[in-house]
Amino acid sequence: MGAVMSESTSEVLVRFRNVQKSYDGENLIVKDLNLDIRKGEFLTLLGPSGSGKTTSLMMLAGFETPTSGVIELAGRSLNNVPPHKRNIGMVFQNYALFPHMTVAENLAFPLSVRGMAKTDIQDRVKRVLSMVQLDKFAGRYPGQMSGGQQQRVALARALVFEPQLVLMDEPLGALDKQLREHMQMEIKHLHQRLGVTVVYVTHDQGEALTMSDRVAVFHQGEIQQIDAPSVLYENPRNTFVANFIGENNRLSGRLVSRDGEHCVVQLDRGEQVRALAVNVGEPGSPVSLSVRPERISLNGHSEHCDNRFSGRVQEFIYLGDHVRVRMEVCGKPDFYVKQPIAELDHQLSVGDVVPLGWQVDHVRALDPLEHAE
C-alpha cells in the first residue's frame, strides 16, 4: 500500500476504456472494462474459467474486436490497427511453436518478417536462446523437446523482437506442478530483468499471487478488484474475491448496526460479531463475514480477541509445516483454523471444545454470497 505514490505517477501503456464484447448480441462476455496497464508492470487477469479473461486479452492482441469502447496502446487507439502491426508479443497455452521449423527458425520468424539482416537475426536468436538456457537446442524441432523446453522457446519467441508488451494466456497450464512453479519464477525473473510489460492470464490464484505486481480479478465479465497481491489477499473488497483468493471461512448473518468503519453482525444462530464494514448495506440486510484461517487464535491465544466463541474439534489435517484443524463453530461444521506446527497444542484431540477468537480487523463484512456458485 506504500506504492500509492508511484501508482499515480507511473506511465500508462495500455488503456481499456468502456470496452464491451458480445459474441452473440445477447450476452456481454466483457461488461464495461476499464483498465489501465502501467508500463513495465506484471499484471495478471485472474478469474474462473469463462469469466472473459481470454476475450479481453484477444481484444488487446487484435484477434477479437471490441463491440464497443476503445483500447489504447501508448496513447494511440488500437481499434483500427491489425494484429500483425501491433507489435505485441504473445505466448499461447499450447505454445503454438511451428512444428515444421527448428527452434532457431521459430525464433528467427518474427525477425525475418520484420526484414532484419541475416547476421543480426543469428545474433539475436543466439542471445535469446542463452537467455532461456537452450543454447544447445537451436537445431531441434519442437516435437523433440519436453513441455518445459517448448514453453521456454515460446517465451523466447515472444520476446525476441523486443515488444514493449507481452501477453500470456495460461502459458503454464499444460505443465506439471513442479515445473509450473519453476517456470513461474523464471518468467518473473525475466520480467524483472527485461522490464517488459506483461499481461498474464490465469485461473490459478497461487500463480497470480506469486508472479504479479497487480492482479485484476475477473468474474462474469467484470473486474471485481484490481490490486497488489497482498492487498487482494488481506483486503478483499467483496465475497467473490475473498472466496476466490486464498482460504476463507464464511459466516452469514444480518447487519445489526454500523459505526464508521466497524459494524456489528448477528449470525443466523444469534451470536454477534464485530467486524470491518467493507461492503455492507443498510442494517437488517444480509451480510457474509470472511475470516482467514490463519487469523484465528485458539485457546489462550484468543483471550485478547474482540470476537470470542467456542468450537468443537472435528479433524486434524497434517500438512508438514502446519496443521489445519477442522472445527464446528457457530453451527458451521467446516470452519478451518490454521495452526503453525510450533504453536499447535498437542493436548488437543478430536471432540474437544476449545475457545477461539479473532480481531475485528481480521473479519470482514462483505456482500452476501450469491447462490450461483
Binding site: A61, H84, I88, G89, M90, F92, A96, P99, F161
Partner: protein
Amino acid sequence: MMASSAPMPDHPLTTQDGVPLKTKLARAERMNKLKSLALVLPLALFLLLTFVVPIGSLLLRSVDNPEVVASLPSTVKAIGAWDGKSLPPEPVYRAVAADLIKARDDQTLGDLGKRLNMEVAGYRSLLGKTARALPFDPAPASYKDALVKLDERWGDPAYWQAIRRNGSAHTPFYLLAAVDHRVDDLGDITATTPDQAIYLDVFARTFWMSAVVTVISLLLAYPLAYLLVSLPTRKSNLLMIMVLLPFWTSVLVRVAAWIVLLQSGGLINSALMALGITDHPLQLVFNRVGVYIAMVHILLPFMILPIYSVMKGISPTYLRAAVSLGSHPFGAFWKVYFPQTVAGVGAGCLLVFILSIGYYITPALLGSPNDQMVSYFVAFYTNTTINWGMATALGGLLLAATMVLYMVYSKLVGAGRLRLG
C-alpha cells in the same frame, strides 16, 4: 524378486530360473509376433488370392509367348542351328512342314498365325496357304525347294527370323511394343516407325491429362478443405455431405449428366447464350474440356479428404501466433499453415493422379479419339482384339509408373508423413 547382486560384465543377465534374459525376452516376443501374425493371416490370404496372384499372373502374360513354342516345337529346335543370315538348312524346312501338319490337326494354327502376323504382316495367310498344301505327296527330295516353290516368302529370311525370335516361351515383344519399340531382324532393339508409334504419345497424354486434373483438383480442393475446417461444426458437416454426395451416385450417371449439361444445346450453353456471354454454343463436351470437367468433378473428394484430415489436426493458434509475431496473414498462411498441410496435399495429389492415369469410362464417353488414355487401349486389347500380351504390357507399365511415382513421393515427402485419411 530382483537379482541380489549387480550383473557381472562378462556374464549375461539371467532370469530367476537361469535362462538368459535375452533368450527369455526373445521367446516372449516371438509369441506376441505369432499371435499378431495369426490375426492378420486371413487378410493376408485374402490379399494374396484376390490381389497378388491375379496381378502377378496378369503381369506374366505381358511376357508370355506360348504360340510358337507350342505349335512349332521341332522347327524351334531345328532353327537353333541356323546362322540367321542366309536361308535355314533343309532340316528346318522339313520340321516346319511336319509341325504345320500337326498344328492344323490340333487347330492351333489360328493362334500361331495371329501371333506371327504381329511380327511380319501376311504371315497368317502364308501359314494357311502352306498348311492347306501339306502334306506333299509324294514327299519331295528337298522340302526347302518345295516350300519356296509353293510360296516364295519361304525364301525370305525375315519370315524365319520371326520364328527364331519367338523360339522362347517369353518375349519382350509386347513390353517393347507398348513403348513403341521392337526387336528388328538383326536382334537389336529399335524404335518403331513413326507411323506405327502411338503408345508413347498415349502415355504422355495420359500423364499430362492426369497432371492437369490433379492441379485443377488441388486448386479447387485446398480452399474448400480450409473452409471445411474453419466453419462451425454444423455448417461444415453439411458441406462435407455435399462433398461426399458424388460418391453416392454411379460414375456412369454422373458422366451422362455432364453430357446433358455440357452439350451444345445443353443447360450451360443455353445459359451462356441467354446471358449474352457468347453467341454460339461452346464446344464443351466430346473434347478435352469435357473430360477435364467430369474427371475433376469425380476425383475432387479424393483431393479434399486427405487435405481436410491433415488440416483438421492443425490448430488455428499457429496462424494467430504467426500474426502476433508480425507476419501479414497471407504470409502467415503461406509460411506457417501451408507447410503443415504438405503431407495432405501430397497424399491428395498422389491419389488423384494415380486414379487419373487409370481412367477409362470418362474419357471414353466424354472425349474425342484424341483424348483417350492408356486404359482405353488396355480395354481395346482385352475386349476387341483379345490380345492379352498388349493389354497386360500396357497395364504393367501403368502399374510401374504408379510405383515409381509413389517412390518419388515418399523420397520427397517421406512415406511416414503420407496421410490418406
